[in-house]
């Protein structure tokens, strides 16, 4: 079954602190597109070690947005990138687009 991003972790963390929630969403909306673009850049330039570094950061975002399958994909893919293998690029792009659409919808 396909998983969908959600804010339950952020809601739990913020409690009734709406200010934190807004601040955190701003950070996510700033950081995520930037990290995605950096990932695409490194993949297109075959800089796989650098791509792995960005995947490392992205996987934390997947956790925050309650995407355990995406997180597992990123864990494996990060290691594969460090070994010179970028075969899971397409799989990651699907997740990146999904998260991008979700953040844009908020």
């Amino acid at each position: 079954m396909q998983e969908h991003p959600n804010l339950s972790y952020i809601k739990e963390l913020s409690g009734d602190d709406a200010e934190f929630e807004q601040k955190f969403m701003r950070i996510l909306k700033d950081e995520f597109p930037e990290e995605s673009q950096t990932y695409y850049y490194h993949i297109e330039n075959d800089e796989l070690e650098m791509a792995a570094e960005i995947v490392h950061k992205l996987k934390h975002k997947f956790n925050i947005l309650c995407l355990p399958n995406a997180y597992r994909l990123a864990v494996v893919y990060e290691e594969e990138l460090r070994s010179g293998n970028k075969q899971k690029d397409d799989n990651l792009r699907v997740v990146l687009n999904q998260v991008k659409d979700y953040l844009n919808s908020l």
């Binding site: 972790y9 963390l13 409690g15 934190f20 955190f24 950070i27 950061k57 934390h60 956790n63 925050i64």
Partner: protein
Amino acid sequence: MNCIIIDDEAAARAIVNQLCSKVSDLDVIEEFDNAIEAIKFLNHQDIDVVFLDIHMPGFSGVDFVQTLKNPPKIVMTTSDTEFAIAAYEYEAIVDYLVKPITTERFEKCLQKIKNSFTQRPKNKTGEVSSSGANEDLYINIDRRLIKLKLNEIMVVEAKGDYIEIKTEKEDYRVHTTLKKIKEKLPEKLFLQIHRSYIINFTKIIDIEDNSVLIEKNVIPISRSNRPELMRRLNLL
């Protein structure tokens, strides 16, 4: 306790900061997106706890721990569980938090930190000292020791590397931390009501919503500190 947060991801720093904000006796003094800047900061600032991301580009969390001669208590934060064993090789590391950090796990971490202080108590002297009679406080400004009467202090505010002491007569800027001055102030008069503010609660004019009025100063009350303030008041 005071702490700093080191993580190259703003989202990760915001999460740790939010968890810290729920703890009344834990103040986040500063955040850093790289370990080098944090080391520079620690060279001139006493810090009790460091929340430290292991995986950072260039200079990693492990590099950071190895660099410090007398490191404060360190809590490692990371997405990679396999780093856990390596982390515990260092005496300064008291806990290891796997992201995303939950409130429950963070509370356990705090207990570990507190236990670690109990096991090896600190004995440090600051730039602020109180007299034996506990009625005066001496502050060091430009190598001059100025005596303040404790009952004339209204508010103490943290401002980065400094604190501002507002008295009935004058305001003073002192290079120290809120934590240090808190240790010198008698609990019967003073109360921390926000991560950045200690107040003399005998000086309160009124309390409205989430703020306190002292002379012309409106001081915010944090959610976590409000119950203690209310407990101390002689409510009708």
